[in-house]
Symmetry: D3
Subunit: 141 residues, 6 copies
């Protein structure tokens, strides 16, 4: 079979962050970001679902070996940001507000190329901040 | 970044309903709707996922403030129908069979305009009736 | 092995109910029961966990055949109350307020004897009304 | 209303399988498939989500009666493969590697026609192998 | 009925913290606490289950009104620590290592008296740090 | 604080098995074990919750380092049986029916001593076979 399927791998990380605009006053930050602007940080158990797309390899029955996909996600993303502060500890988040929206986009950019080199196409990055809130990014503008 | 992302908010409500066609006999209702036609009602813990779509605001890192989205969903939908009877208590369900399909469509119509006014676009209403059954509506005919 | 173990079976049912004291005014009912007193009912997806206790049968490796336990729960409880109105349709709830507390106790009384006849001992009835609220009853006063 | 909606039904099955290429050595199988190549099998609690698409029937409020959809899925798929060995016991998996990818495609082919005859269109087969891994197939090449 | 039942309410909070012993070197902290000692914090979506125990009130069918229990938990615990830094922002955590174990004990001490005044008895504080780790405290030494 | 708390760690494994009594006919096995007696095996995603009990260490805030507990569970249990056949591949299950009840007891016996040597006390082994069925063992006869 050479049917096109979508394969998803879940990885998790726990991180601290705050939503804060450097050029705004504390009052303005509180007004816009609410309790997410707490100066001393808060944090989340993030759940990350990465979906790739591609044909099924006839010999293996795989679209992409999930051990490989897991290794890409861990080495490029979750091992780097797990138990870290997203605002302070992550060079590739410098200058970017650590909203779930921006995180999803940046995670896409971190893994897109390696997935392509593994012969597949990144389809979606889905990131849960809480059980009530999540963001999906499918690439592009 | 002005990337387009999809942002989802979950809200919940608990309601009574029955599936019942007024012009059918009790037997016909039972035949078509099975135990969902119990005259004295039954009920569910509904889980509602509302997904909006839009560019990321560079200043906030948000597509749409989830507090605003939550407020729209609550004021237009879940605060109105929570702990209610969908067939008897909700004027905007009058004359509409209270299937999960119809509920999803009506919920879309209730919130589409306010989300547009908040600068975003409603993308999907996903409604779980049980852990085994859910409906998605993406607008349009 | 004749070790004592605890075995749990989950069953589910969807029902309508309201919390209502017949001798109170509508205002008093609203004051005490809040939105749970809505005259036209509301409803839930209840999750029921029944735990039995007993030695492991050496021949089967079972404490109690879960098909038997499931059949007892269904025939005595969930098939009877699923898609029903707990206040109106269930003879053995007549005169009993349909709180999760009372439901758990009544369910215990409905299944205790049959489980004993099957050679085991009922240990706990755990009943979820929502993902945020549940009740456990271990028998006795 | 004749709006187009997507309706999903979840069914589950528990099965044994292994990933194994008959023409490869045990070493090669281990290298490619890792612990999934254990000669004596391993197994999973699979979760299957079948999504169909269609207009809402005005008389019933249904896109497709979920009892009918459930019956199709059970009779064609889950009753056949539940508590079975996917490599040994299922004629229609003969010669096909029992990856989640291939399973999703084969399940699609097993149910597409009956869903069409019921007046709806199969939209997606989503199959969870574990809480961390799942596959989606939307038909076509 | 005056049967004794156990009633549980779930509340949630998202907080930052680190595990850190002030009198140890950074190396010793890293050795003992691993990645939980990251100087710039990390965080979690905590899930808190509070279980109370008591007889069922015959008039209400309640052991304890869950709105009251929820209000106690929120006012004494979750509203105070949600979106905060457990090490820096919470006076009643000062000098106490912010392990899940200690948090569970401190939460017990924060709510025990008010639950007693509401006529019930606190039975268990169960606190999830992640989906894989949780702590239960039943009071006492 | 030297309060006694209960700490739980979840680990998972995927295994094949069948319920089969060697001295019974195939018919008798089918009669007693139903579809669980399928000769070619079936399998599950097992979820294992191990709960230990002990005082909180004042220096660390830990009852027992969860990395240590996780390592014990993995090395003695889940790494050994993950992606294996419980009837064929596991020496310490030889001659024992692979029911969830027996598995829970055997897992207890595999880890009790190492947990004691780590200074804590094993309190409960809880094993989910499916989302509907689980067993708890607290030690002893």
């Amino acid at each position: 079979m050479s049917k096109i399927v979508y394969v998803t791998r879940r990885e998790r990380f726990n991180a601290a962050h705050k939503l804060w605009h450097e050029e705004w006053s504390a009052e303005k930050n509180l007004e816009v970001f609410g309790k997410c602007s707490n100066p001393n940080w808060h944090g989340h158990n993030y759940e990350l679902f990465v979906t790739i797309k591609g044909p099924i390899n006839e010999e293996t029955g795989f679209c992409m070996d999930l051990k490989v996909l897991s290794t890409i996600i861990k080495s490029k993303v979750t091992d780097v940001i797990d138990h870290r502060n997203l605002n302070l500890d992550i060079p590739w988040m410098a200058g970017i507000k650590t909203s779930t929206e921006n995180l999803a986009v940046v995670i896409w950019e971190r893994i897109e190329q390696e997935i392509k080199e593994a012969g597949c196409q990144l389809h979606c990055v889905k990131l849960y901040e809480t059980e009530n809130n999540f963001v999906e990014y499918y690439g592009g503008e």
